[in-house]
């Protein structure tokens, strides 16, 4: 578990920051790499515990399959939802152009 397929601590932080869509300054990367290593080292105790045959506990609610009647209900008006957006048109959120740009592979 200690060996990292992402590479060195700083490479790991870069890779994970990319996955998390988070830009980091160089100094920030270095500090985080150090802290990351120290946190993960502290967490290594988990690896030493025998958990064979134990089923994971996903949540604490012990309530499942809660369904209400499948009936349409009014939503909040679009205008109210858009009011908090940094940029929007009358009915839509506005984002940078995604077609025909480097970031637009989706």
């Amino acid at each position: 578990m200690a060996a990292s397929p992402h590479g060195s601590p700083i490479e790991t932080v870069r890779k994970v920051a990319d996955l998390a869509r988070l830009d980091l300054a160089d100094a920030e990367e270095e500090a985080l790499a150090l802290q990351f290593a120290s946190i993960l080292e502290h967490f290594q105790v988990l690896a030493r515990l025998d958990v064979s045959g134990v089923e994971g506990m996903l949540g604490a609610s012990r309530v499942d399959d809660v369904l209400r009647e499948d009936l349409p209900r009014p939503s909040l008006p679009a205008g109210e939802m858009l009011r908090n957006a940094p940029a929007h048109t009358a009915d839509f959120y506005s984002v940078p152009k995604t077609v025909g740009t480097a970031g637009g592979e989706m």
């Binding site: 994970v16 998390a20 869509r21 988070l22 506990m57 949540g59 908090n84 957006a85 970031g103 637009g104």
Partner: protein, 518 residues
């Protein structure tokens, strides 16, 4: 007649109902205290003075018209700034949500309003509820009223201090790994995390969804019970919420007796790292519980040492997913970056999140990433099951378990700010309860003295799943036999008079102002 800060919510409501004070006077006095105490303590991110006063006038009219007052009629309350009240800025202590005004009201906030409560303002917090000291707020720390050079604990820091400093009798926080119980302990008040599923989370900004629980602070057990009766109950907007009527307190024949109650004392909850004074105060409280008739039983929760890593894997995994929504599109901050969509996301998040939130997003993303999921996240879920099983076994033999809430009393601001692991260890006694989803209450059990200042110590009473009422019953018996919950920090009692008329007559301190009032 008692001064406002000496009254709990129940007494205040009764006082209003009897006509001893109007709702308007109550709210004016509340804001006089805000004006005096918020500058040194920094409890609030915003206050709702105008709205509160017009609501007070409305409530006074309704009372005069003969309306039967609700259980929180005229009671000022404070909300943590991760709770939704339509139209009121709630920014989670973060730059990334600066200016966010939710278009809807949380179910639990609506229930407070329907019960007659008046919202005073939104309180300061560690950014996105991640922290144990308030130092992760983007807007500066909140200070402990017992010693302003120290932390009030976190993350529900402003709400805890608003209650401890006598601004409001009840405030809401959210508790994911201890964020209400720990500040309650450090501020000398009650803080109750109910069983997961007891209170709807609809309208609470999500951090760790399988752990988050709306949790009240108060200065009396009956106020915690009152708040729970109002807050709890089914909500069709949160499928994890129990389909049950609101929580009702147990009514033992003798509330002061614990005869027949078995109290488990986990040996793991008195570890070597425990500060001496904290150990002493908790042992004294256990002795008192025994005098009240409870049987103390030594028990073991063998996986306690695994709780911190398990909690930080589970909570950060859930946080990394929940906080993916802050990307500069729907609310809050946007930073254009390199002009691409992906670049805008990454630049917005870089600028908008503080260091601890970034650390946790990265940790959560890491433990969920390909090649790590089974070794970290999958394994943590299994250890979580073992922790829950520990409690289930113990609760076959005892009614509640009791130990310290926090390993230390309030520490100095700045003392742990640069050491994430040291800060995470603050949660060692609260996270097991969170992971198991069971109820836990922090109860004031006395003081330690440091640097000439009295600092409160808290004791956690935890109960089995859905055993909320039993936890509160044990706390009530202790409360009857103790005075610690009545102690107020010196600066709270030196606050200025409750209204301008009284101010004219006030010579020194609050004794004069009390007398000056009809």
């Amino acid at each position: 007649m008692s001064a406002l800060h000496e009254l709990d919510a129940t007494a205040l409501r009764n006082s209003i109902q009897k006509g001893e004070r109007s709702v308007r006077e109550t709210i004016l006095e509340t804001f006089a205290r805000v004006d005096a105490l918020d500058p040194p303590l920094h409890m609030f991110l915003n206050t709702q003075r105008g709205e509160a006063l017009s609501r007070a006038a409305e409530l006074d009219q309704r009372l005069a018209a003969g309306e039967r007052p609700g259980p929180l009629f005229g009671v000022p309350v404070a909300l943590k700034a991760n709770m939704c009240l339509a139209g009121v800025e709630t920014n989670c202590g973060s730059r990334i949500l600066g200016g966010y005004r939710p278009p809807y009201t949380a179910t639990f906030v609506q229930r407070l309003l329907d019960a007659g409560a008046i919202v005073v303002g939104m309180t300061n917090m560690d950014e996105f509820a991640m922290g144990s000291s308030s130092e992760n707020s983007a807007f500066g720390p909140t200070r402990n009223p017992w010693d302003p050079s120290r932390t009030p604990g976190g993350s529900s820091s402003g709400s805890a201090v608003a209650v401890a400093a006598g601004i409001v009798p009840i405030a809401l926080g959210s508790d994911t790994g201890g964020s209400v119980r720990q500040p309650a302990a450090l501020c000398g008040i009650y803080g109750f995390k109910p069983t997961y599923g007891r209170v709807s989370r609809y309208g609470l900004v999500a951090f760790g969804s399988s752990l988050d629980q709306v949790s009240p602070f108060a200065r009396s057990v009956r106020d915690i019970e009152l708040a729970m009766a109002v807050l709890s109950g089914a909500d069709e907007n949160d499928s994890t919420c129990f389909d049950e009527p609101p929580l009702q307190p147990e009514q033992p024949a003798d509330p002061g007796s614990l005869a027949g109650i078995r109290i488990g004392v986990p040996k793991e909850y008195f570890p070597a790292v425990l500060a001496g004074g904290v150990r002493e105060r908790c042992e004294a409280a256990l002795a008192r519980l025994s005098e009240l008739g409870a049987e103390l039983v030594e028990v073991s929760l063998p996986h306690t040492d695994y709780a911190i890593p398990t909690y930080y894997v589970v909570a950060t995994a859930e946080a990394s997913s929940n906080l993916a929504r802050y990307d500069g599109v729907r609310y809050g901050l946007r930073v254009e970056g390199d002009g691409s969509l992906q670049g805008m996301f990454a630049a917005t998040r870089e600028k908008g999140f503080g260091p601890e939130v970034k650390r946790r997003i990265l940790l959560g993303t890491y433990v969920l990433s390909a090649g790590y999921y089974d070794a970290w996240y999958g394994r943590a879920l299994k250890v979580r099951a073992l922790l829950a099983r520990d409690f289930e076994r113990v609760f076959e033999k005892v009614d509640v378990v009791v130990g310290p809430t926090s390993p230390t009393a309030a520490f100095k601001l700045g003392e742990k700010a640069d050491d994430p692991v040291a800060m995470y260890l603050c949660d060692i006694l609260t996270t097991p309860v969170s992971l198991a989803g069971i109820p836990g209450l922090s109860v004031p059990v006395g003081f330690v003295e440091e640097g000439g200042k009295k600092l409160p110590v808290g004791m956690q009473i935890a109960g089995p799943w859905k055993g909320d009422a039993r936890v509160l019953r044990v706390a009530r018996a202790y409360e009857i036999a103790s005075e610690y919950h009545k102690a107020a920090p010196p600066m709270a009692t030196l606050a200025p008079p409750r209204n301008p008329a009284a101010a004219k007559n006030a010579s020194t301190g609050e004794g004069a102002t009390r007398g000056a009032r009809a």
